[in-house]
């Protein structure tokens, strides 16, 4: 089975999952890992718990909040585990495409396309110059 794990400093991952489900309905294959919320919970232990629950033929797409941040860094150290795909810079438009494409046969291509959606979805709306022409049938 293929799963998506959102991982963040604090509660962004949980909030991102909540917002995604508001738009797309329930998606139990998407989980959230919120780091540093409780001082007595260690991030490496959280990661171990996730990987322990993962079956040998499962695949996990991990989406972290910040490239260069500690959450992503700790996941980078786990990349020898071939079940993991690691992505940094989560956004809602990217997540929507990942959820829509989760059954895709070519996972790396699907991930690249989802990341493109994330890039395209980032806009400075004041500076959009080109107004699309009205379309007809």
């Amino acid at each position: 089975m293929r799963k998506i794990l959102l991982a963040s400093h604090g509660k962004l991952a949980e909030g991102m999952r909540d917002s995604m489900q508001m738009i797309m309905g329930p998606h139990p294959e998407v989980e959230a890992l919120c780091a540093y919320v409780r001082p007595d919970v260690d991030l490496d232990d959280q990661i171990d718990a996730v990987l322990t629950r993962l079956a040998p033929d499962d695949e996990l797409i991990v989406v972290t909040d910040l490239f260069g941040g500690s959450v992503n860094n700790r996941w980078m150290l786990r990349l020898e585990d071939r079940r993991i795909h690691l992505l940094a810079g989560m956004s809602l438009s990217m997540l929507v495409e990942l959820v829509n494409g989760i059954e895709s046969e070519d996972v790396p291509a699907m991930i690249r396309s989802a990341m493109d959606s994330g890039h395209i979805g980032m806009r400075y709306c004041n500076q959009i110059k080109k107004v699309p022409a009205a379309e007809n049938f």
Binding site: I23, M24, G25, N100, V131, P132, A134, E135, F137
Partner: protein, 162 residues
């Protein structure tokens, strides 16, 4: 071919662009609304926000009926959006091709009551929906594709009140 005719007060938004369009494989969205057709700002906003690779057409309800009945829309996998029960009523009764209706969202207003967790109607709208059922149109409430659809019947409309 008409793939989905949806009532949603927000018209084209996240749920529609990210789930319904993909779920039904739509290649063309028609917004049937006199209000949007006459409002350049709203028209532009929807045109900018539409899903990539999907054609967006905005027409008045009357022009929408004419276009659908002429057959020019047959080559598309069409997703039709209306924002009010009145528009849904007029459009569906004007087009034999529209047989099934999706009630996605209608916000809570003064004098309204729920017929699903996201659809609120008033007495006048209840009568319009009743007319649609009596004209043989099938109707379901369903916000997103993963949610279980619920068939709307006259009994369901009768049991819904303030």
């Amino acid at each position: 071919m008409i793939k989905l005719t949806r009532l949603d007060h927000r018209l084209l938004h996240g749920q529609v662009g990210c789930t319904w369009t993909q779920n039904i494989g739509s290649d063309c969205i028609l917004i049937a609304s006199d209000g949007v057709e006459g409002d350049d700002l709203r028209k532009t906003t929807y045109a900018l926000a539409k899903p990539v690779g999907v054609k967006l057409v905005v027409k008045t309800v009357e022009d929408s009926i004419r276009a659908i009945n002429s057959g020019v829309t047959d080559k598309y996998k069409l997703l039709i959006l209306v924002e009010s029960v009145r528009d849904l009523h007029d459009l569906a009764l004007g087009c034999d091709r529209i047989e099934e209706l999706n009630l996605g969202g209608l916000k809570q207003r003064e004098g309204t009551y729920p017929i699903s967790s996201t659809v609120f109607i008033n007495d006048e709208e209840r009568e319009l929906l009743r007319e649609l059922l009596r004209a043989g149109k099938r109707m379901k409430t369903q916000q997103v594709p993963t949610e279980r659809p619920v068939t709307v019947t006259e009994q369901l409309l009768d049991s819904a009140h303030r």
